[in-house]
Symmetry: C2
């Protein structure tokens, strides 16, 4: 049950990954980030909006006129677009979508940032699931790198466990502690097997389209 137990710049990665597909406003972003993560507790606005502000400050995202991206931004309301958008713009000098929504789009710079985040192995433990979620934006070869380096990390965990097991095997440990370790071990193996399937699929695809 790894999931992404968000910590540093994990939010940024999630935001950029989602914006890479389409323009979105903050509120919607929050919902999608929660969805990505299965059914866990949603991230808070108190971290989302500052993260967006940070990304905007570094030029990775920018506020856009509604609907410049590919897909239309999902509308909850009904008041038809142009008129409402005009009114909203009049009220607040900055480019916002209908009814005060501030719609963000990813910039070229942002795409590079996303690229770098995807590549950085130091965040794999926290954010690997997220990286898989967005790895479609990588070329096959870099995607393969991602999968393989994660596989190596997990294999390393297993190796670590084995040496630890050897050390503690004498003072044979508590029933529940052992159940826990065994289960962790199995889970890691399960993760590795999954990665192996992903890697194999990637290789097969590499062969058909060289």
């Amino acid at each position: 049950m790894h999931r992404f137990d968000r910590l540093p710049d994990v939010i940024e990665l999630a935001i950029l990954g989602l914006l890479r597909e389409q323009d979105l406003h903050g509120y919607e972003l929050r919902k999608r980030i929660s969805e990505l993560d299965g059914t866990r507790t949603a991230i808070s606005f108190g971290s989302l909006y500052p993260a967006l502000a940070r990304l905007e400050a570094m030029g990775a995202v920018k506020a856009v006129e509604a609907n410049t991206g590919g897909k239309p931004i999902p509308m909850t309301g009904s008041l038809s677009g142009e008129a409402a958008a005009y009114l909203a713009r009049r009220r607040s000098g900055s480019p916002r979508g209908s009814r005060g929504k501030k719609v963000y789009g990813i910039t070229e710079r942002g795409e590079h940032v996303l690229d770098d985040l995807l590549d950085d192995p130091s965040t794999d433990d926290k954010a690997f699931a997220l990286k898989v979620a967005f790895c479609r934006y990588l070329p096959t070869e870099r995607r393969l790198d991602l999968f393989e380096r994660r596989r190596a990390q997990l294999a390393g965990h297993l190796a670590g466990e084995r040496t630890q097991r050897r050390r503690t095997t004498t003072e044979r440990l508590d029933l529940y502690l052992r159940a826990l370790r065994d289960h962790d071990h199995e889970t890691t193996q399960h993760d590795i097997a999954w990665l192996d399937r992903l890697i194999a699929a990637e290789r097969a695809q590499e062969d058909t389209t060289p």
Copy 2:
């Protein structure tokens, strides 16, 4: 690969759980907490020592003369106990073990705190693995509660996923996103199966010793 992705009072739980078995000093506690957690990054002293101070302030742990607990505290050095301990005490007014080590023991109050932490469902997501590691200190019936409530939580996750899957199935999603979801699903099922085995074992034990 759940593990305990420590957040609130997770450190406290780990400390109390370890001290429940035997008296330990901070440095050793850190090592053991890291071991508990498999091979992940160790917690930092910057969070460990303040946590110990917090626990001491609330009377859950207290500094003890070396070796009042059950097992002896593992000694790294060789200078034999009494003489060194005497010197150390002379140097620093407070009760410390040999060579300036400050050895902590759990208090009766601390055992109650541990009990409460183990019982609190709100920390299950972050700390379930830790709770299993220390559930031997619970009576069978409360241990069963713990396992069953966790099982229910995971079953809830699965249910949530299913409804979400139904919603998103139309706009059939990206290959990798689907692989991710499938794998999460499998992992959760694996976790549930594991809990079922633990629960069954507990029930069997309940029957033999009623």
